[in-house]
Structure formats: structure tokens, C-alpha cells
């Protein structure tokens, strides 16, 4: 088989003789870009968790200020969410997608490799500037007018970067599949990354547009959007539900990919899984309304004023229930699959199951949150649901790293060490979210850390969450430690440590510059299994 | 092929005759071959033999060419021997010019140093060139004061007056661009360079008027920048000095000249100086033109009518007849005729009135401020003052008394 090469792989040929820093700065290799995303995302995760601990600690005593004054408290709060959502979850997920999707699709490269690289650097630049702006008293509700401007403008750059990365992934999923690989034959991580990227591509421009509006308004007019205090109202949706589980969509694919492999079985009802992931992406419709679509469940009886009730129910159902259905579908399929499984005791497995559960918990609680009669609006219940989704996503990402880590850097993360971390992480996630939900029922307000009415057990719940966040921080540190150790001293992984069925395991670990020396023609959903069965690859 | 021969012979003749013809033009006022002072004579004594030698060499060369052309023209002779030269001939013909030149070089060097001698100077005069006239000032220090009665400095222009047989040292400089002071019959030329003082010795051995011209290109009116040097007997020179230092005499009340004085104060005194002239309160009027505006200085008019040329000597204040009387006077009579100055009868009314009417038309000058302002230049020279004929009458009457 011969080919006309129009691109020249200058980088691949000459990367060895350039200094390391230069290869990182100039790379267009999707695996390297993905690792950049993941690495910086882990750092962002630590930062976000430290701030989260700080905020939770501050909430313990509602009367006075332990560490933060009222002005900075709001900002630390939003900084914690900014770092967790855009500094940790987003890059971890996008990084995995950028690194793994082309491999899974049997492609030699990501589509628009330089755009993807540029996406990373723009995201990083924007993130650093945003954080700098917050440090300079310019976050939402910040007092330094110029820094508020910087925060807005920088977040545009940051989100633009993510959008560029999403664009690369979406186009890769659509066009760069190996011959014979229809979308329905694509591995689930690729499918969910594709779906998630399209969802992001549709929603992130709205964020950009809003931010530009806000920037112009804040810098020049200060009329329509409410100045510094309006910032959170208008862009806050991007760091709260349900947008956060749009970000989680790609890693749902990890669950669907990993569980059958680790369970040494096949996924039950493949097409249903595709549909379930697709349904989750409807969440963007909710996120785009900028506020929760709530269900005003009022009136005398269920049947009185039915017309109005249907009018209220429809949007609620559309934007809140459907994604939840999708998530439930994923969970259901997972369970179905596990039923017939003979699972190996590998770390990715608990990460996948437990993470999925947390996301489901978050989505479900969010549904409750939007029912007006539950009277949870404006309470800290919202934070509980956020923590559940975010930590759940982080757990899934950790799982993804333990699963694909051997492929990315050729060495395994030891299962024995990682398994407890999955459990501990789950505990931390649960203890970090559930108490807030309880406190929410007890009317602890969201968005503030001090000066609210406060009585009895709430203190307990806040102490528990503080501990949970601290635990999550420790788990993350431990996981990063494990990962870093495995780079250098880990057990060498073979090309195919999990006995996989998809194409990422068909190349060496780590993969060469152009992923595959020969183009693989795909004949089924399990191309690697086909190859193994035909005996071509040992 | 006989024409060349004839031509070369005639050319040789012309070359030889050249020296004679130039030397014979006795009446040219700026003739470089008619020295009237020891400095010019030194030069003359050097250049005459040099020209002669050059002429002889020229004739020899022309004769040789003529001979060759005549003798070796193509008469169908065989192709000559392809010889590449004869060292003996070449060396000889190289050594001969070397010897001739050495012969020329030795007197040249000694003359150069003789002309540069300054230690026996008897009088020092500062000469300042500017666009386009010369200013002379006689400082009242040193021998000037001690031996020539210059108790006060004298500032004059156009005509330099020096005593006979006196070793005068000119300190030549310039106010704007480079000029060159040259009185051919008294000495060679010397550039007046702004910021530098160059020394030029003048000595006249015979009373008379000696014409000269600025010879370094100095801009628009370079052609109109002329000057004269007047050599006077010692007694006449003393009289001239006394007249220059005499106090100002105001015109009599009620005369046309008195009107002229008022007009002068009003129109002319910003640039032109008349020593001793005072305003109604008795304050002396001192001209102080701005630098480069109207030249930064204008000729001192205190004793205008003792000089017989004006405006950089570009025209005469004397009518043609009176001019001839002065210029052609014998050495003995010259002093008296020069010191008589310009009388009302002899005054060249035509040129003076034209000048007062519209000076820039008579002598090109940078006096159009608009033209120069566009380019950032500054204007120089005398502008058209827009005087009426009556005012001109009054000014002429006033100026006539400036003796």
C-alpha cells in the first residue's frame, strides 16, 4: 500500500535533536498535547481543591471570619469552582480525549493538530490570566475594576482554547476514522468525546459571547449587566449545573469502554449506549438558558390547572429529565454488562463504577433542586450536586488515566495502590456532597460562607465536607504521586495490558509519532479482537 | 594629411603668445600680471618663469608631434618593427621633467613661506565677508592705536583704505558662507571661512584704487560681491582716519536732509549704523539686526560718501565721469581726489535711487520672506522698503551729508 503524502512529518523526524522544552512548546502531536492538558489539569485540580477546603472551612463558623473576609470569600468561592471546572475537569477530560480518540479511531493524527495544540496554549494562557485576575481582586464581585475586565477577557481566551480543542476532537471523530469504522463501530470513549465536543462547541461560544458583552458593558457602559456583581450571574452557569455534566460526557465513554474489557465481556446493547450518551448531551439546552429550568409544582391538586402544568413540565422534562435518563441508561447498561462479567481486579473498574454513581447522584439531586416546591433554590444544596458531578468526573478521569496510562507512557499504575484511592475518592465525593444537600434542606444559603442563619447540626455537615474535601485533596495528591512514580519506576506495560478490543491497543506503548505504521482496516466493533482472532497480532 | 601639422604649429604659436597677450592687457583692473605691491610682485616673479618654462616644454612637445605626424604618416612603408620601447629613451625622458620640476619647486617653496610671513606686521584690520559685501574694522589696539591714530575703532565696508608702503595684515573671516578676499594687484586670494581667521598680507607701493572680487562661490549674488582696496599716502591716510573719527554732524533743522535723518531713524537704523546718531532723548542709536535676518549686519553708513562704491561695490556712487577722475588719477593726485568723496554733482543719483526704490531688483538677494520661510531659511539682504519718491529725495539728501 502506498500513499501520497502531502503532509511532511518534519516534527517527528527532528524532534529528537531539539531541546525538550522546544518540543513541548512546538509540538503538534496529539498525544503530547493531551498529556499537556492532563498534567496541567492535575495541577489545577490540586489548586481548586485547596481553595475548596478553604471555603468549606470558612463555612464551619457562620458568625465570624476565620481566614477570609467577606470581599474575598465570594471570589475564593468562584475561584475554587473556576479551577475545578475549567482548570481541572475540563483539561483532564479534553486531555484524555485529545490523546486517546485518534488512537481509538485508528488514525495517524488528530484533525487540525496545530489547532489542538493552540487550543491547549490558549486555554492555559487564559486560565493563568483569569487566576491572576482573581488574585488581583477581579473575580466575580471583585473590587478592582481593571482586574474584572482582565478576568472577563482572559476567560474568553481560556474558553476559546477549549473550544478549539473540542473542534479538533469533533472533526477527528467525524472524519478521521479508520476505513470501515462507521460511527457506530467507534469505541465509546470516541463516541462520547465526539458527542461531548459537539455539545461544548455549541455552548462555549455562548459563554464567549456573553463574556464579550460583559466585558464591553463593564469597561465602557456599566449598565445592562450589573457591573462586578453581575458577572457571576451571567457567566456563572458555566461553573455550575447542568453544564458541568456536559463536561463529563466524554468520560462516560470511558466507563462504557473499560467495563466490558475489564469485565472480559461485551457491552450489552451497544446501540442503546450510543443513544444514552447522546441523550446526556441534551443537557446543553439547559445550560444555555443561563439558569435552572425549574418546575413550579404549586396549586391545590395535581390535576388542577393541568394546561399550565404541562407547559411547565415540558421544558423541565426536556432539559432536566432527558439527560438524567441518559445517565441512567449508561448506568443501566453498565450494570447489565457487569452481570455477565468475570471482572479482573483492576483499578479502573471501581473508578468507573463509583464515578458514574457520583455523577448520577449529582444529576439526580440537581433534578430535585430544580423542583421549586422542594424550596431548595438558593441553598447550598446546589453545591452538593455540583460537588457530586465534579468529583465524580474527576474519579472517572482518574479511572481513565489508570486505564489508558499504560498506553500513554508505557507503564502501569499499580492496581493495589490505586484501588483504595478509588474507594477513598468515592468516600470523599460522597461526604463532600451529601452533607451540603442536607444542609441545603436546612436552608444554608449558597454562594456565601459567612453571616447566615445557622443552627445546630449544620456545623457538623460543614465540618464533614471540609474533611471530605481535604480527603479528596489527599487522594488526588496520592494519585498524582502514583502516576508520576509510574512514569519512572512503573511496571512496564505491554502494548495491550487489558486484553483490549479497540485499536488504541493495536500499537506500541507509548505509540510512535504517527500512531500506526500501517493503516488498519476495520471490519467490526471490536477490530483488535478481530485481529487477535485472525492471529495476525500476537 | 597636412592640416594637423599646420594646426599644431599654429597652436604652438598660440601657446607661446598666450603669455605675452595676457601680460600685455595693461588696462584690466584685475590683471594678475600687473603687481602693485611687494606681495603680488613676489608671486609675479615666480609665475613668469614658470609660464615660460611651461611654454617652452609645450612648444617642444608640439614640435615633436608635428614632426611625427609629418614624417611617419602612412606612405605605404612596411610594417615597422614591433619594438616595445627603449629603456634609455624612457629614462631620459622621465628624468628631464623631474629636473625641470625640481627647478620650479625650490623657488615655489621659498615664496610660499615668504608670503606667509607676519611678524613684521604694521597694521591689523579685521575683514569680514558676508552675503554679499565686505566689512572692515580697524581695531583700536596695538600699533593701530599707537602709530596710526586709531583712538576709536573704525568700521567701514566695500572699500578698504590702507596707507602706502605699510605691511597690513588682514584677519579674514566670514559671517555666513565662505568668501574669498582677492585684490589681484596686491596679493593672491585668501578664503574667509566662518569660525576661522585667515591671515592675508597686503601692501600697496603706489597710491591708487585696486579692484578685487570675491572669488569663492558664495551664493545667489556672488557675481555682485566686489571690493576695492584704496592705497593712500600716509598723510592722506591720517586725514581719512581723522574724518572717520570725527563726531556726528546732524543736518541743519528744516532742511530736506533733516527729514531724511528722521526717515533714516525710522526706516534704516535697525540694520544700518551711523555712529553718533541719537534719538530725540539723546540716546545713541545702535543698530542690532538679528543674526541672519538681513545678514546679521548691514554696512555702516557713517561715512558712506567717502567711499565711492556701494552695495558690495556692485555699483558706483560716482557718475562715470567723476569715477574716471578718481580711478585714472595719477599716484600723486589720487589721495586728494579720493578724499574729496562723493559730491552732490558727482553722485550717481540713478543707481542710488533705484537701490532705495527696490534693492533686490538691483542685486539678487534672499529678501522674500515667504519663499524662505517655507523652507526654514532666513532672509538676507536689503528688502524693498516701499519708499515714496519724496522720501527717497530726503534720504538721498541725508546720505549725501554722510562724509
Amino acid at each position: 500500500m502506498t500513499s501520497t503524502e502531502t503532509h511532511h512529518a518534519a516534527g517527528a523526524a527532528s524532534s529528537t535533536d531539539a531541546p525538550a522544552i522546544a518540543t513541548w512548546l512546538t509540538t503538534a502531536d496529539h498525544k503530547q498535547v493531551g498529556r499537556l492538558f492532563i498534567g496541567t489539569g492535575l495541577v489545577g485540580l490540586l489548586g481548586g481543591l485547596v481553595l475548596a477546603v478553604l471555603v468549606a472551612f470558612e463555612r464551619i463558623d457562620a458568625e465570624g471570619f476565620q481566614l477570609l473576609d467577606s470581599g474575598s470569600a465570594t471570589q475564593v468561592l468562584s475561584a475554587a469552582r473556576l479551577l475545578l471546572t475549567f482548570g481541572a475537569v475540563a483539561p483532564l477530560v479534553m486531555g484524555l480525549a485529545v490523546a486517546i480518540v485518534p488512537l481509538q479511531l485508528g488514525s495517524r493524527s488528530i484533525a487540525f493538530p496545530r489547532v489542538a495544540a493552540s487550543g491547549f496554549w490558549m486555554w492555559l494562557t487564559g486560565l493563568v490570566l483569569s487566576v491572576a485576575a482573581i488574585i488581583g481582586n477581579g473575580g466575580p464581585s471583585g473590587g478592582e475594576s481593571e482586574m474584572v475586565d482582565l478576568y472577563l477577557a482572559a476567560s474568553v481566551v481560556m474558553v476559546l482554547g477549549l473550544a478549539l480543542a473540542a473542534l479538533s476532537i469533533a472533526v477527528t471523530g467525524l472524519t478521521s476514522r479508520a476505513p470501515g469504522m462507521g460511527l457506530l463501530r467507534a469505541p465509546f470513549f470516541s463516541w462520547s468525546s465526539f458527542v461531548g465536543s459537539i455539545a461544548l462547541l455549541m455552548s462555549l461560544p455562548v459563554f464567549i459571547g456573553t463574556s464579550v458583552y460583559l466585558y464591553v458593558d463593564h469597561r465602557y457602559a456599566r449598565a445592562a449587566f450589573g457591573g462586578n456583581f453581575g458577572v457571576n450571574n451571567w457567566v456563572g452557569w458555566a461553573i455550575s449545573q447542568p453544564f458541568t455534566y456536559v463536561l463529563a460526557i466524554p468520560v462516560l465513554g470511558f466507563v462504557l469502554d473499560a467495563i466490558p474489557v475489564l469485565g472480559r465481556t461485551r457491552l450489552a446493547q451497544r446501540p442503546a449506549a450510543n443513544v444514552a450518551v447522546g441523550l446526556v448531551s441534551v443537557a446543553i439546552l439547559a445550560s444555555l438558558t443561563h439558569r435552572a429550568v425549574t418546575l413550579p409544582w404549586e396549586g391545590d391538586g395535581f390535576f388542577s390547572g393541568l394546561g399550565t402544568k404541562i407547559a411547565d413540565l415540558l421544558p423541565f422534562g426536556l432539559v432536566n429529565v432527558i439527560p438524567l435518563l441518559g445517565l441512567l441508561g449508561v448506568l443501566g447498561l453498565t450494570m447489565l454488562t457487569l452481570k455477565s462479567a468475570k471482572p479482573m481486579l483492576a483499578a479502573p473498574l471501581p473508578f468507573a463504577v463509583l464515578g458514574l454513581l457520583m455523577i448520577l447522584l449529582g444529576a439526580a439531586s440537581h433534578l430535585l433542586y430544580t423542583v421549586e416546591d422542594a424550596a431548595l433554590g438558593g441553598t447550598i444544596f446546589e453545591a452538593g450536586s455540583y460537588v457530586a458531578v465534579t468529583f465524580g468526573t474527576v474519579l472517572l478521569a482518574f479511572g481513565g488515566l489508570t486505564y489508558w496510562g499504560p498506553k500513554l507512557w508505557g507503564r502501569r499504575i499499580p492496581d493495589k495502590a490505586a484501588l483504595p484511592l478509588a474507594l477513598l475518592g468515592f468516600v470523599a465525593a460522597a461526604l463532600g456532597s451529601l452533607p451540603y444537600m442536607i444542609a441545603g434542606f436546612a436552608d444554608q444559603p449558597a454562594g456565601v460562607v459567612d453571616g447566615f442563619a445557622y443552627s445546630g447540626p449544620q456545623e457538623l455537615w460543614n465540618v464533614v465536607t471540609t474533611g471530605a474535601f481535604a480527603l479528596m485533596l489527599l487522594v488526588s495528591l496520592a494519585f498524582i504521586g502514583l502516576a508520576v512514580r509510574s512514569f519512572t519506576a512503573g511496571e512496564a506495560a505491554g502494548d495491550d495490558p487489558w486484553d483490549g478490543t479497540t485499536l488504541e491497543w493495536a500499537t506500541s506503548s507509548p505509540p510512535p509519532a504517527d500512531n500506526f505504521s500501517d493503516l488498519i482496516v476495520v471490519g467490526s466493533e471490536y477490530p483488535l479482537a478481530d485481529i487477535k482472532n485472525s492471529g495476525k497480532v500476537g | 594629411m597636412k592640416n594637423p601639422r599646420r594646426r599644431f604649429l599654429s597652436l604652438a604659436g598660440a601657446a607661446a603668445g598666450l603669455v605675452a597677450v595676457a601680460g600685455c592687457a595693461k588696462d584690466a583692473p584685475q590683471d594678475t600680471w600687473q603687481p602693485a605691491g611687494p606681495n603680488a610682485e613676489m608671486i609675479d616673479n615666480l609665475q613668469r618663469p614658470v609660464f615660460l618654462v611651461a611654454g617652452i616644454v609645450g612648444v617642444i612637445v608640439f614640435a615633436a608631434v608635428a614632426w611625427v605626424v609629418f614624417r611617419y604618416r602612412d606612405r605605404g612603408q612596411a610594417i615597422p618593427e614591433q619594438t616595445h620601447g627603449k629603456p634609455a629613451v624612457e629614462i631620459t625622458l622621465t628624468v628631464i621633467p623631474v629636473l625641470i620640476l625640481i627647478g620650479v619647486a625650490i623657488p615655489t617653496a621659498s615664496t610660499i613661506f615668504d608670503l606667509a610671513k607676519t611678524d613684521d606686521t604694521q597694521m591689523v584690520i579685521n575683514v569680514t565677508g558676508q552675503q554679499w559685501w565686505w566689512e572692515y574694522d580697524y581695531p583700536a589696539i596695538g600699533d593701530n592705536a599707537a602709530k596710526y591714530g586709531l583712538s576709536q575703532p573704525i568700521v567701514t565696508s566695500g572699500q578698504l583704505v590702507i596707507p602706502e608702503n605699510t605691511k597690513v595684515l588682514l584677519r579674514v573671516t566670514s559671517r555666513d558662507v565662505i568668501h574669498s578676499y582677492w585684490i589681484p594687484k596686491l596679493n593672491g586670494k585668501k578664503d574667509g571661512v566662518p569660525g576661522r581667521v585667515h591671515l592675508l598680507r597686503l601692501e600697496g607701493s603706489k597710491p591708487g584704487i585696486y579692484a578685487g572680487q570675491c572669488t569663492e562661490f558664495c551664493g545667489l549674488s556672488h557675481s555682485y560681491m566686489r571690493m576695492e582696496t584704496i592705497v593712500l599716502k600716509r598723510a592722506d591716510f591720517d586725514a581719512w582716519v581723522a574724518n572717520q573719527l570725527a563726531p556726528y554732524e546732524a543736518p541743519a533743522e528744516g532742511t530736506l536732509a533733516k527729514e531724511g535723518e528722521a526717515l533714516y531713524i525710522q526706516q534704516c537704523s535697525r540694520c544700518h549704523q551711523v555712529n553718533g546718531l541719537a534719538d530725540a532723548e539723546g540716546n545713541l542709536i545702535v543698530s542690532a539686526p538679528e543674526q541672519y535676518v538681513v545678514s546679521g549686519a548691514a554696512p555702516n553708513l557713517t561715512n558712506l560718501m567717502t567711499r565711492n562704491t556701494f552695495a558690495g561695490a556692485s555699483w558706483d556712487l560716482l557718475t562715470q565721469e567723476c569715477r574716471d577722475v578718481v580711478w585714472k588719477a595719477s599716484a600723486d593726485e589720487f589721495g586728494a581726489k579720493y578724499l574729496a568723496g562723493v559730491s552732490a554733482d558727482c553722485l550717481n543719483q540713478k543707481d542710488l535711487r533705484e537701490w532705495l526704490r527696490n534693492a533686490p531688483e538691483k542685486k539678487p538677494m534672499y529678501v522674500d520672506p515667504t519663499k524662505l520661510q517655507e523652507t526654514g531659511g532666513k532672509y538676507r539682504g536689503m528688502p524693498a522698503l516701499g519708499l515714496t519718491e519724496d522720501q527717497i529725495d530726503a534720504l538721498v539728501a541725508y546720505l549725501l551729508e554722510r562724509k
Binding site: G180, V282 | P139
Partner: protein, 382 residues
């Protein structure tokens, strides 16, 4: 089959958006903005769905072996490129400039345009042919005319600025030593390279790079540190503006110079002897003079020679000038030209143009030496 997998997703999302828009319209009592937004979203989804349908999900059939080689999946990745990173940094600079100063903003925009341009051109060039060498040539041909001069100018600017900062910060004498040292260093390296022809280009490049960095670093450091004391002082004093010539003041005015060229055209030497006598030697005048003549309106250069044991300065006073400050206010100030303080045995020239004759002034024009009693030369301007 028109409805491929991805178009199913996209059409579905489009239909959902339409529904959401409709529901939004009903639920929010006819609020149009949100509905319009959803409508746009629907259009976008349906459009993308149509594309997916048209391209049939970009699917390459496993049986269509001829298409395999040209499929997107078989294309190798592009080479390394600095421009994506540069674009991001430029975007950051632009954002910072947007907030802080127009200058930085302009730099950012210029950088952004440059980076995107470079990116575009290198992408274009890399597709020009299969020969890497040729592609590089094409790129260089297009871009070098812009790149090299700009880069050169920037490099030059950095060097020049750094140099100037360094030397402005050093004291005069140290500056001379440093300069000499630098010269020696350059000579040494030059000689070394010249002698060792086979010297590794990378080594030489590295040395030069380090030197450049060191220079730029020193430049930044010294720029932050500020200019040397005298210059700062002079700047505060309005360097070379005339500020009166007293005995105490150290600095001269703009008419004074130690330039060599001035010494070639001296009108007069003014000499202060060891015993405090002041006399003049003027070209053409015999002997020592106690008075000199300066032609009016002439640029005249006078050289002051200090043979006394102390540092002295020469002051030429030539009257007064009245400035009209407007509103009928006038300021009278003395016209003076003076040298700096000249150490023993030193000399310095002053060029002066005296605009008015001495007779126009109430006070006589003189040359004096502050601090030396009776040292005076009369100056006469006709």
C-alpha cells in the same frame, strides 16, 4: 442512507432545540430572545447534521481500498510548529494590553497577526510539495523578506537599548574600561573563531546567545536601576540648558565643547596662568592681549587654557537679553557663555555668536574667571 449515526445525533439535538425554543416561548409568555437563540441552535445542529449526512460521517468503506491511502486517518501528523504556542501567547498579550495599555495591546495584535500569518504560510508551504527542502525554500522565499528585517531590527533594538542602558548606568571612566573590555572580548572571540575554523557552530551560537541574554539581562537590570548620577542630575537640571556660570556649578552649557574639531578653528586662546593672570592670544595680533575683538554675528570659538593649579572655568559675558514672557511680563537675563570647570592643564572651547555690538550694551563685554580676582579681558564687538 441519509441518516447516518452522527446526523441522527445532530438532527435529534436540532429537533430538541426547536422544541426547547417553542417550549421556552410558551413558558416565558412569549419572550422571544431565548426562543430565537434556540432557533439558531437548531439551525446550527441541523446544518451540521446535513454536513454529516452529506459526507456520510466521513466514512471510508473497508472495501474501498483505493480510498484508504487518501483517507484522513492515514495522513501523518504535521510537524512541530511554534505558531500555535505563539498565537496563544499573543492572545494573552493582547488581553493584557486590552486591560493595561494601548501599546501592549498593539504589540499583542501585531504579534497575533504575525503568528497567524506565519501559521498560515507555513501550513501552505508544507503542502506545496512532497519535498521538505522545497517546502522550506518556498516558505523562506515568501516570509524571509518580512521576517528577517523585522527580527533583525528587533534584535538590533534589543542590543542597542541594552548597550545604551548599560553605558548610561556606568560612570564615564568605568564605561570606558567596560567598553575596552568588551572590545577585547569580542576581538578575542573573533580571533578564536577565526583561528579555530572547525569550531562547532552550535557552540559559537550558544556563546553568542548567552552573551545576548546576558546583555539584555544587564540592560534590563541597569534600566531598572537608573542612569548614572550625573546624568540624572543633568536631566533634572535640564542638561546643557544655560543656568548661569557661577564658581560652584560643575556643568557647562551647550556652547562649550571639548570636541577636537573646534580646536582647528580658534579665534583666540584665553590663558589663565599659574599666578592668576589672564591674557589672550589672538591670531594675527602680536603678543599677549588684554582685549580681543569678536566680529558681530560671527560664530567665534574661544579656547580656554587653564594653567593655574585649581579647576577653573571661563565666562564670557556679552550683555543682557530681555525675553518677552507674554502678558507684558519681561524677564531680563544675562547673556553668558561658559566652559565647564577645567582642571589644571586642561582646555575647553566655547563657541559663541554675539548678536549685538558692545556699544549697544550698558555693561562692557568681558571674559572673566570666577574665583580669580582681577582676571579680566575686555571684549570688543564692533
Amino acid at each position: 442512507m441519509m441518516i447516518t449515526t452522527s446526523s441522527k445525533l445532530l438532527y435529534g439535538l436540532g429537533a430538541g432545540s426547536l422544541a426547547a425554543g417553542f417550549v421556552w416561548f410558551v413558558a416565558n409568555e412569549g419572550q422571544q430572545l431565548g426562543s430565537v437563540m434556540f432557533a439558531f441552535l437548531a439551525v446550527a445542529f441541523i446544518f451540521l447534521g446535513a454536513i454529516a449526512s452529506y459526507t456520510r460521517d466521513g466514512h471510508v468503506l473497508s472495501t474501498d481500498t483505493a480510498a484508504h491511502a487518501s483517507s484522513a486517518a492515514s495522513q501523518k501528523s504535521v510537524g512541530r510548529s511554534l505558531w500555535p504556542f505563539g498565537t496563544a501567547v499573543s492572545a494573552g498579550v493582547t488581553v493584557v494590553g486590552l486591560i493595561s495599555s494601548p501599546g501592549i495591546f498593539k504589540v499583542g495584535v501585531a504579534l497575533l497577526i504575525a503568528m497567524l500569518g506565519e501559521w498560515m504560510i507555513s501550513n501552505w508551504a508544507e503542502r506545496a510539495s512532497s519535498s521538505n527542502e522545497y517546502n522550506t525554500k518556498v516558505r523562506d522565499y515568501l516570509v524571509h523578506p518580512l521576517e528577517l528585517p523585522v527580527a533583525g531590527a528587533l534584535l538590533l533594538a534589543v542590543i542597542v537599548l541594552s548597550f545604551s542602558r548599560v553605558f548610561l548606568a556606568l560612570s564615564k571612566s568605568v564605561g570606558a574600561i567596560v567598553f575596552a573590555g568588551m572590545g577585547a572580548l569580542i576581538l578575542f572571540f573573533g580571533a578564536l573563531i577565526a583561528v579555530k575554523r572547525q569550531a562547532n557552530r552550535r557552540v559559537v551560537g550558544a556563546i553568542l546567545g548567552v552573551l545576548l541574554l546576558a546583555l539584555a539581562g544587564t540592560g534590563v537590570a541597569t534600566a531598572l536601576d537608573g542612569e548614572r548620577e550625573q546624568l540624572t542630575e543633568a536631566a533634572e537640571e535640564d542638561h546643557f540648558a544655560h543656568r548661569g556660570c557661577t564658581e560652584e556649578k560643575e556643568y557647562s552649557d551647550k556652547k562649550a565643547s571639548r570636541a577636537v574639531s573646534m580646536k582647528s578653528s580658534i579665534l583666540a586662546n584665553v590663558i589663565l596662568t599659574e599666578d592668576g593672570q589672564l591674557y589672550a592670544e589672538a591670531t594675527g595680533y602680536p603678543g599677549q592681549q588684554s582685549a580681543i575683538t569678536i566680529q558681530r554675528s560671527n560664530p567665534s570659538t574661544i579656547l580656554f587654557v587653564n594653567e593655574s593649579s585649581e579647576a577653573r572655568r571661563m565666562v564670557l559675558s556679552y550683555g543682557k537679553v530681555v525675553e518677552d514672557l507674554g502678558d507684558g511680563v519681561e524677564r531680563e537675563s544675562a547673556l553668558e557663555a561658559c566652559t565647564s570647570k577645567v582642571e589644571k592643564g586642561g582646555q575647553q572651547a566655547v563657541t559663541v555668536v554675539v548678536p549685538k555690538p558692545s556699544s549697544a550694551s550698558d555693561e562692557p563685554f568681558t571674559i572673566t574667571v570666577p574665583g580669580v580676582e582681577g582676571a579680566k579681558i575686555d571684549v570688543f564687538v564692533p
